[in-house]
Symmetry: C2
Subunit: 474 residues, 2 copies
C-alpha cells in the first residue's frame, strides 16, 4: 500500500519510488511480482500518470524492476543479502577514534608561536581580489575557464616564475623544467615516483624538516640521517660509495637550526652528488625572507652537472592557504617525468596560477615580499631585544631570515616543562623533538618559536609572560 | 681591480659583490688573500663605506670571505672543483627531449570531441567572481587568510558537501570522514598509501579509467582486470579467496562503456567485499549528470559494512580547472588516515574550498548543475538525432548521462583509420584503446566521442563532416 503525503517536501514520484523500493528490499515485494499498471496506480493515488511513470523509470534505471513485454513492470531477482548493519561496530570505531583526538585545550592561548601560519593582515587581500577579477577575464578571453589544464602548470606562470627565479635565485633552466605543484610535499611525492625504487634511501639532515620525512616514509624510502653543524649538512659524513641516492637539504636556511650553508660546503656537496650519481633536493622554502643580506644564490644556480632538483613554495612569502609551490627538474629527468606522469592531471587551479603569475608580472609580488621582509625583520628584532634583557642563560639563534628562531637554555631543563609552563601563561611554544629522527639526540633544552603569526605590538607582553613562566631557569 | 658603472641598473654594492665573487671563483683572489679595508675601497671607488660593507656582508653570508680579527676580511678556503659545465650534454638531452614531443598538428581541428574539457561558456564566471569576493571577506573576518589549513579540507566545505551528498547521492557519513583533495587521482594516491603494501593488487574494470590505472601503477600495485558486461563490472569473475584487495569501479556510469550497475549487481559486489575483507573504491565521477532519471543512489549509500570508499569530483559539474574532488573514508580507516598523514598539508586552496561551499550553501550549485544537465542533454540528443539519420551501421551507446558516448561500427574498420579520416575533415575523435589493459581485447571499430566541449550549434556540421570522412564504412 502506497501512501502519498502532500504536505511532505519530497516530490510525489520520489515518495512512490521510495515506498516500492523499501517493499522490495524488505521482501514484501518479491522476485517476479507484478507492479500495478501505471494508469491504475495513478488513479488509485490521485496523481498524474507521468508521476508514476517517473517513479517506475527510476526503479528500472536502478535495476529493482524490469519491464515484461505485454505485462508491465516485474520485480527483479535480487541476491539474498544480509544488509544487517554493523552499526555497533561503527559506533565503537567512532568512540575509539574520538579517544585519539588531542585533549581539549584547557588554558586560553593568547599567543601561538607556531610555524607556517601568518597573521591574517599579511595576506594581500585587495591585490588578490583585483587580480582574481582580472585573471577570470583573461582566462575567459583565452577560452581556458573550463579546459583541461597542463599537468605541469600553465605556461603563463612558468614563464613569469622563471624570470623571477633567474633574477632572485640565479636559477638557470627553461620553462619545460618547471612543474607547478600544490606544495613542497606534492613535489616530493612526484620525486619519489621519479627517482625511487624499493631499495632507495634518502639522506636527511638531522635535525630536519619532519614534513619531508613524512612523505619519504610514506613512499617506503629508508631514511639515513646526516648531522648538521654551523655550516649546515655535514658533507664529510656522507658515504662516498653510495650511488644513485637522494639527498634532501635546506642549504639557504637549514630547518630548523637556521644556519646557512656557505659556498665551500655547497661546492663539496655538488661534488659529492656528481661523483655518486645522486640527486640533491634543494628545499629553498623561505629564501626570499632575508633581513640583512640578499638571498644567497641557490645550489641549483651553481650546479653544472644536472644533479639538483630545486623546490620552492609560495607559502612563506604569500600564504600557506594558497597551496602552491613548484619544482625544477634537471633536463635529463624530463623525458622520464613526461613518461610516468603522462596520464596525470594538474594539481593547482588555473585561476590561482594566473593570479600568482599576474602578481609577479606586475611587480606586485616583489613589493609584497619587501613588505613581508620589513614586517618579519621588525618582529625578529623585537624578540631579540626583549630576550636580550631577560637573562644570559638564554640564547636566541637566528640567521636574520625566515619566520622562526630557536631558544636554547644553558640551564638544565626539559622541553616539556618549558612548554607546559609557557602554556600556563597563555603562550604556545614548540618542541624541537619532532625534527629529530633519533629523539635521544635532540637537545632537551631547546625550543622552537615562530614569529609569523604574532603581531609586533604583542611581543613585549608575550616575552614578559615567558619570563614569568620560566623564571626558575633564567 | 673593481670597476663601478654608474649607468648600470645593478646597485653599486651588487657590482662590488659580483666582481669580488668572480675573482674568487676564477682564482685571481686566493685562499687567505686579504681584501682591502672597506674604508679604503670606498675611497678608491668613490662610494660610501656602507656600500662596501654591504658587499662584504653578502660575501661573508655566502661563505666566500670571513673576518679575521684585527686584520679585515680574508678569502675563505674553497674546495678545488671543476665547475666545468656539461653544457653539451644538457643540449643533447634537450634535443632528445624535443624529439619526443608529438609532431605538429598539420590539419586545423575545428571540433575536438575530447573528454573532460567543457566549452568555455559553461564556467559560471559571474557566480565565481561574486563568490570569491564574498569568501575573501568571510575568510578575513574568520582570520583564516594566512593560517595553515586543515589537511582534510575546511569544515565549512565538508559540512555543506555532506548535506548535499546525503540529499543527492544518499551518502551516509560524518564530516570527519570527508577528505577534500585536488581530484580523483590525489584521492587515489592517498588510498594507495592507506591500504596498499608491496603485495597488494587492485581489481580494475576492463575497459576502465586509464587515469586511475596510472596512479595504481605508479604506486607499484599489480593490476588485475575484471570484464564488464551490460550491468557493469562482472562480480562473478572476481576470485572468492582473495583477501584484503582493492577494487576500483565506476558503478553509476561505467567508464568508458557508459553502462549502469543495477541494484542486484551492487548487492553482489558489496557482499563480495564483505566476505573478502576488501575495499571498493567507488568512483562516482559524473553521477550528477543524468538526463532522464535521477542519479542512482551510490554504492556507499547501501553499504552497511564499511567497505566502500566513495570518490567524487567537481570537475564534471563545475570545471576541470578548479582541481577539486573529495573522498569519503569508512570510519574504521580514520585513525590510520590521521596517523600516516598527520604531518601532511592540505592540497586545495582555502579560498577555492570556500567558494564551492558558498555555491552549494546558497543553492547556486544545484541551479548550475541543472543548467549543465540541460545543456548536455540537448547536445547528446542532437548527436543521437544526427547519427540516427546516417546509417544503420553505426551504433551510439550512452545511458543518457555524462559527457561522452561510444560509437560502434558494425563494418570492419580500424580505429586508427577512422580517427585519421575524421581529422582530415577537421574533427578529432578518440580511440578506446587507452582504456584497455589488454590492448588486443579492445574492439577495433569503437570510438570515444565527448560532447562537453562542442557547442550545440556546431553538432550538425560536425556530424556531416564525420559522415563525409567515414562514407566508405557507412
Amino acid at each position: 500500500m502506497i501512501y502519498i503525503d502532500r504536505t511532505c517536501k519530497e516530490t510525489l514520484y520520489m515518495q512512490i519510488y521510495h515506498q516500492i523500493k523499501t517493499d522490495i528490499l524488505q521482501g514484501s515485494l518479491k522476485e517476479g511480482d507484478l507492479l500495478q499498471g501505471s494508469r491504475g496506480l495513478a488513479n488509485t493515488l490521485h496523481v498524474s500518470r507521468n508521476t508514476v511513470d517517473a517513479a517506475y523509470g527510476q526503479l528500472y534505471a536502478e535495476g529493482y524492476i524490469f519491464p515484461k513485454k505485454g505485462i508491465g513492470y516485474v520485480v527483479a531477482s535480487l541476491p539474498k543479502l544480509t544488509l544487517s548493519t554493523s552499526l555497533e561496530t561503527i559506533e565503537n570505531v567512532k568512540a575509539t577514534h574520538n579517544n585519539l583526538l588531542p585533549p581539549k585545550q584547557e588554558l586560553p592561548i593568547l599567543y601561538d608561536l607556531t610555524n607556517g601560519s601568518h597573521s591574517n593582515d599579511l595576506f594581500p587581500k585587495t591585490l588578490w581580489k583585483k587580480a582574481t577579477i582580472e585573471c577570470i577575464e583573461k582566462l575567459d578571453s583565452e577560452q581556458k575557464l573550463a579546459k583541461i589544464i597542463d599537468k605541469q602548470g600553465e605556461l603563463y606562470l612558468r614563464h613569469t616564475l622563471l624570470s623571477y627565479l633567474k633574477r632572485i635565485r640565479g636559477i638557470h633552466c627553461t620553462e619545460d623544467q618547471i612543474i607547478i605543484t600544490c606544495g613542497i610535499q606534492q613535489s616530493l611525492e612526484y620525486i619519489c615516483k621519479l627517482l625511487a625504487n624499493d631499495k632507495s634511501y634518502v639522506f636527511m639532515e638531522e635535525p630536519g624538516y619532519h614534513k619531508a620525512t613524512a612523505v619519504f616514509l610514506n613512499n617506503n624510502l629508508k631514511i639515513q640521517t646526516v648531522p648538521v653543524d654551523e655550516h649546515g649538512l655535514m658533507v664529510s659524513r656522507l658515504p662516498a660509495n653510495k650511488e644513485h641516492c637522494i639527498l634532501y637539504t635546506t642549504p639557504s636556511h637549514q630547518f630548523p637550526t637556521g644556519v646557512t650553508m656557505p659556498i665551500h660546503r655547497r661546492l663539496e656537496l655538488l661534488s659529492w652528488a656528481k661523483e655518486n650519481h645522486s640527486y640533491i633536493l634543494e628545499d629553498d622554502f623561505d629564501s626570499e625572507l632575508r633581513y640583512y643580506a640578499k638571498p644567497i644564490p641557490s645550489l641549483q644556480s651553481i650546479d653544472m652537472n644536472d644533479r639538483v632538483i630545486y623546490l620552492g613554495t609560495f607559502s612563506k612569502a604569500l600564504s600557506p592557504t594558497i597551496r602552491m609551490g613548484y619544482m625544477i627538474l634537471p633536463h635529463k629527468l624530463l623525458s622520464r617525468y613526461n613518461q610516468i606522469f603522462q596520464d596525470y592531471n594538474a594539481t593547482v587551479p588555473i585561476l590561482n596560477q594566473y593570479v600568482v603569475s599576474h602578481l609577479i608580472e606586475t611587480g606586485e609580488y616583489d613589493r609584497h615580499v619587501r613588505r613581508m621582509n620589513h614586517v618579519f625583520r621588525q618582529r625578529l628584532e623585537c624578540f631579540e631585544r626583549e630576550f636580550k634583557n631577560i637573562s644570559s642563560n638564554l640564547k636566541l639563534s637566528s640567521n636574520g631570515s625566515g619566520q622562526y628562531f630557536l631558544l636554547e637554555f644553558s640551564t638544565s631543563v626539559s622541553q616539556d616543562i618549558l612548554i607546559k609552563k609557557a602554556a600556563e601563561q597563555g603562550v604556545k611554544v614548540y618542541s624541537t623533538m619532532q625534527f629529530w629522527q633519533e629523539k635521544t639526540d635532540c637537545p632537551p633544552n631547546t625550543l622552537f618559536l615562530g614569529f609569523s603569526k604574532i603581531d609586533i605590538k604583542n611581543i613585549e607582553d608575550c616575552v614578559s609572560r615567558l619570563k614569568k613562566a620560566w623564571s626558575e631557569w633564567l
